[in-house]
């Protein structure tokens, strides 16, 4: 998707966010004080986020999805790569240069117990954006806060309460209200329902969908839960070890996954019918994902891939549309799966 870097001529860029070759490394503590190890959490990711769409980002622990999200809202500095928000280059912007953009992009965090300061009243927490950006104060701020509380389905009379007095689902509504206060264009949702009970998840998912329609929001929706991602997303990107390995419209990805990793992930999800897995010809991914610390050559998935061949160990596949696929269906694999093919050993030429 690197070709998308060329700026569009017409003013309304269909892409709200363009990410090109983004890399994020962390220095890690190593056993030897003289050797600084570097952990590459995001290893060169490119994609675009269309206005008004929901892009789902799935992957397992440590695949870099949360780090990528934090790079996009610039809670992290980028190690390399380019980040364009509505045409403005934010890749190297300082915190003060970012301030006006903070109103336009917001984040909802995973843990509704961790994302609200336990010592502050809810009204004051939701009013933060108004205070920080000098939008409203006093009675006017309180009125706006109560409008927001009403919008996300909270009782506006509860503005004086403390977070501890709310259940997990209600807390997530508070966090959503805070994120929406300044009517942002982009909302990055980092596992917004993972910490919630099943019976509450649907409430929050419906709320997010409704708010998107009402306010024309663009979502980057991060989750490890493939069913949840399918439900909310227009397009889905699958990450593995800091890279996007597959990106496709949601229906296509779930119906005809091309990357063996995507297929394996889908096969690992428990179904809702008893005994369903035995009928599904399972592929259980062996082992754990390798550490992002290890220097990797070739395809990042090759060590766990049942189809891996010599080429996969030597040459990293590019994320691109495969012959015969929908042009919006991108796969980074030398030997992608055909429709309905089980992710067993590759039989032939593949690509």
């Amino acid at each position: 998707m690197s070709a998308a870097a060329a700026p569009a001529a017409a003013p309304p860029d269909p892409l709200l966010v363009r990410v090109t070759g983004v890399v994020k490394e962390f220095a890690t503590r190593s056993a030897s004080p003289f050797r600084r190890e570097r952990l590459q959490a995001v290893a060169g990711v490119s994609f675009g986020l269309r206005r008004g769409e929901t892009l789902g980002l799935v992957g397992e622990t440590g695949c870099g999805k949360s780090t990528l999200a934090r790079c996009i809202v610039r809670l992290h500095e980028l190690t390399a790569g380019e980040l364009l928000f509505d045409g403005a280059d934010l890749s190297r912007a300082t915190q003060s240069e970012l301030r006006p953009f903070r109103r336009r992009m917001q984040m909802v965090f995973q843990d509704p117990y961790g994302s609200l300061n336990p010592r502050r009243r809810v009204g004051s927490i939701i009013g933060d954006p108004f205070a920080i950006h000098d939008v409203a104060a006093g009675r006017e701020r309180m009125r706006l806060v109560q409008v927001l509380m009403d919008l996300v389905g909270l009782n506006p009379e509860h503005y004086n309460r403390f977070p501890a007095e709310f259940s997990g689902g209600q807390r997530q509504r508070i966090a959503i209200a805070r994120a929406l206060a300044l009517r942002p264009e982009l909302v990055v949702c980092d596992e917004p329902v993972s910490a919630l009970d099943v019976s509450i998840q649907a409430q929050i998912l419906n709320l997010l969908v409704d708010l998107q329609r009402e306010l024309g929001l663009t979502y980057l929706f991060i989750s490890h839960d493939l069913a949840v991602v399918r439900h909310v997303s227009d397009r889905v990107a699958v990450m593995y070890l800091g890279r996007i390995v597959e990106l496709a419209p949601a229906g296509l990805l779930y119906a005809s996954a091309r990357h063996p990793y995507t297929a394996a992930l889908l096969a690992a999800v428990p179904a809702f019918e008893p005994g369903a897995r035995s009928r599904r010809a399972p592929l259980v991914l062996a082992g754990d994902p390798p550490s992002p610390l290890e220097a990797l050559r070739g395809c990042r998935f090759h060590a766990r891939c049942p189809r891996a061949q010599a080429r996969c160990r030597a040459e990293e596949p590019a994320l691109e549309s495969r012959v015969g696929d929908d042009p919006g269906h991108l796969t980074a694999c030398h030997f992608p799966l055909a429709d309905g093919e089980a992710p067993g050993p590759a039989t032939g030429s593949g690509a």
Binding site: L75, S115, R119, E165
Partner: protein, 307 residues
Amino acid sequence: MTPVAPIRPRGPWRLASERIGRDRAAIAAIATILLAALVAVAAPLFAALTGHGPAEQFIETGLSSNGIPVGPGHEFWLGCDGLGRDVLVRVVYGARISLLVGVLASLLAVVCGAVVGVSAAWYGGTLDALLSRLMDAVLSLPYLLLALALAALVGPSTGISVVVIAFFNWAAVGRVLRGEVLAIREREYVQAARALGAGHARIMFVEILPVVAPTAIVYATLLIPSSIGFEATLSFLGLGVPPPTPSWGNMLADAMAYYKVAWWLLLFPGAALLAITLAFNVLGDSVRDVFDPRFERSVARARGGAA
């Protein structure tokens, strides 16, 4: 839009004070401390009541013919010391010094520790490395030796006592608060504030300080008794409050010459010192329990869907 009802729900601070109210040991400790404070404030009243000034010597009535101090009795309720001074009045005046030095030194230590510890953790990098080493250095000083040297150099005074005690205690507070802030700065609510565009000062004062405040309060409460003890030690060694101003420490020092014949010289200031330090320690323990996040969490969980 529903009209707004003025609800003031129980916040963390309210909850904490309610929990303290249910803790009998804490109530007893608070009562002891309040009593001591009251007595200290009313010290001149005791002097007027007995007609004995705190430094006034009563050679005729206070000492027996061979110079031995008289014991507790009608005129001197808690007896006299070796110079014929009223022990009751001196213990009461000593409470002023002990409380003043204890509270002031603890406050100074906590404020300095908070400023250094919080800035070290928040700004990180070189500043953190520098301030952390400074705290390590202070913590590794042989405090009694240095205190002795310092007091000997500038001469004993109450003000110096406060500064010396604070100087040797702030680093411990700083180190603890630094650790807390290091943990808090990675919390999602701080990240959320950053994502909203909040600046350093706002994050510090709105998000971080209220969260570390309980720790600081617990530390302050626990520092008071040790400061009182430290002051007594300095005075005992003749390096704290200069005579003839009475302090429990120098009263105990004076008692050393007489305790075989005059037990009251040791008992009353000693008991007062013990009572007040015990009270502050008990209170500190209760305050810590009351702010214990585990306790808070279990309550929060149990209240679950109360809202």
